[in-house]
């Protein structure tokens, strides 16, 4: 029984990742591609980790799996945020059909010159 659940989870997780990859290829602009990746990373990983935990029910596996999930959820959005932010500043062309872009109108978007934090 368990092997069926595990297999299902594994396949589902990897399929999510595949869909994310297809999304990266297919979706029309960088923001939407980022959508695909962020979600795939977490969801796919969560499903597959579930499979691992179920198949290897040990504390250390559970803890490490949880760590993977938490870290993915915590860090992936920050990465995408950074890229999205800079992409927007670069005026990366957006796909057609945007209803609005309120960030464009944000007065503070152009930051002070000469500021060096890196």
């Amino acid at each position: 029984m368990m092997e069926w659940i595990v297999s299902l989870l594994l396949i589902a997780g990897s399929l999510f990742m595949l869909i994310a990859a297809i999304g990266v290829v297919k979706l029309p602009d960088v923001y939407m591609r980022m959508h695909a990746i962020t979600k795939a990373a977490s969801l796919g990983a969560i499903l597959m980790l579930l499979a691992v935990v179920l198949w290897h029910p040990q504390w250390i596996v559970v803890i490490e799996s949880l760590m993977v999930v938490i870290f993915v959820i915590f860090t992936a959005p920050i990465g995408t945020h950074m890229i999205g932010r800079v992409a927007h500043r670069m005026d990366v062309p957006k796909a057609e059909g945007y209803l609005m872009d309120e960030l464009q109108d944000e007065p503070d978007r152009q930051e002070a010159e000469g500021e060096k934090s890196l």
């Binding site: 591609r33 990983a45 198949w55 596996v61 993915v72 890229i83 999205g84």
Partner: protein
């Protein structure tokens, strides 16, 4: 994993979809068109590597590989930050 054909199948399917995904990522890397487009590929590949690691764990039963996944999950975003900072500097 021995003695569980369905699991074997699942592992192989997982490998298949993940490797196809890898090439999808490569495609985006090569075609771009913009730099942020290429940058997101790194994230995708990192996720796929986590997937591959988990699949390898299922294949071999070696849960120590989880450690690798933890590190990737924890730190890959720093690459994004670095790229972002680089691009930011370029537009300034």
């Amino acid at each position: 994993m021995e003695g569980f054909p369905i699991l074997n199948l699942a592992v192989n399917l997982s490998f298949a979809s993940l490797t196809i995904s890898l090439f999808a990522g490569l495609y985006r890397l090569l075609t771009g068109p913009t730099l942020p487009d290429r940058m997101v590929v790194m994230d995708l590949i990192a996720s796929l590597v986590i997937g591959l690691i988990l699949t390898y764990i299922m294949l071999t039963g070696q849960t120590v590989f989880l450690n690798v996944a933890v590190v990737i999950a924890l730190l890959v975003f720093m690459g994004n930050i670095a790229f972002a900072k680089y691009l930011k500097r370029r537009i300034e």
